[in-house]
């Protein structure tokens, strides 16, 4: 029951949920939530592979770095969102199109 497959299924569900959150939501923060989900899905995959495929510690370390990067990304992204909100008074993703070609 607690095999590799179950973990991979869980992580796939998380990933798919993340993708849907990213594509379906129009609120930037909600999109960030989706990103977190995707990151977590990959981290879970790493740890799961470590457990089932080889017993080296590198998978753990990789997921640790993913956590670190997620934290940094959350901090910076939210700061940008706040700044964006201060300037534009909106968090609608389609309003952030200043960089269009």
């Amino acid at each position: 029951m607690m095999g590799l497959a179950s973990y991979l299924i869980i992580s796939t569900i998380l990933f798919i949920c993340g993708v849907i959150a990213i594509l379906a939501r129009k609120n930037i923060i909600a999109i960030l939530l989706g990103l977190e989900l995707i990151l977590n899905a990959s981290a879970l995959n790493f740890v799961a592979y470590t457990r089932f495929l080889n017993n080296s510690i590198d998978g753990h370390i990789f997921s640790l770095f993913i956590i670190v990067i997620a934290a940094a990304e959350a901090a910076v992204a939210l700061a940008i969102v706040l700044r964006f909100y201060q300037i534009r008074e909106t968090v609608h993703i389609d309003d952030a199109t200043q960089l269009q070609g």
Binding site: L23, A24, R25, I29
Partner: protein, 179 residues
């Protein structure tokens, strides 16, 4: 048995949390569901013998990221803000509609196919064997971090510092711009 119980509780928490994140209409609730999902993830890590990762998951996501998210949600509107800003834009964006969910769903199906294809190759080569015992990982991670992965470790520390300063600078209100 204890493990199995923990696995079930965690898995359910994770999956339900994740699904609720994409289905709920309230952003604040989504955050709380995300928290649940993260807690579940920590539990899953524990069942995988990754005690340190679990603890860090708890520390970073529960103590840090979710609170940040919640803050951000609160600062960008909150529950009872006006719906429109001075440019006439929608202030608190919709949490999606049929069209976006359709696009998302279709893409998700494609991604799912892709992942399935990936997993097939994994499972072809994978044979379930004797699983190793749970061993404390803290020391091994620590040694590994300052020997094999020291460069990545240092770079990530610089990254965090940069993120800290960057976030502080970006988010700081510029006094002369306030009307």
């Amino acid at each position: 048995m204890f493990d199995l119980t923990l696995f079930f509780i965690s898995a359910v928490l994770t999956v339900i949390g994740a699904i609720m994140v994409i289905t709920t209409k309230d952003l604040m609730h989504a955050c709380i569901y995300l928290l649940a999902s993260f807690l579940g993830m920590a539990g899953l890590y524990l069942t995988l013998g990754a005690d340190f990762v679990a603890a860090i998951q708890l520390l970073v996501y529960v103590g840090g990221v979710v609170i940040l998210m919640v803050f951000a949600v609160m600062l960008t509107g909150g529950p009872h803000a006006q719906k429109q800003n001075k440019f006439g834009m929608i202030k608190t964006a919709l949490m999606g509609n049929i069209r976006t969910y359709t696009i998302g769903g279709l893409t998700a199906v494609v991604v799912l196919l892709m992942m399935v294809k990936l997993y097939i190759s994994i499972f072809k080569n994978y044979t379930a064997g004797e699983l190793p015992n749970y061993l404390p990982t803290v020391e091994r991670i620590g040694k590994s971090l300052i020997t094999d992965h020291v460069l990545a470790f240092e770079i990530s520390s610089v990254l965090l510092l940069g993120a800290l300063i960057g976030a502080a600078i970006i988010a700081r209100p510029r006094k002369n711009r306030i009307n």
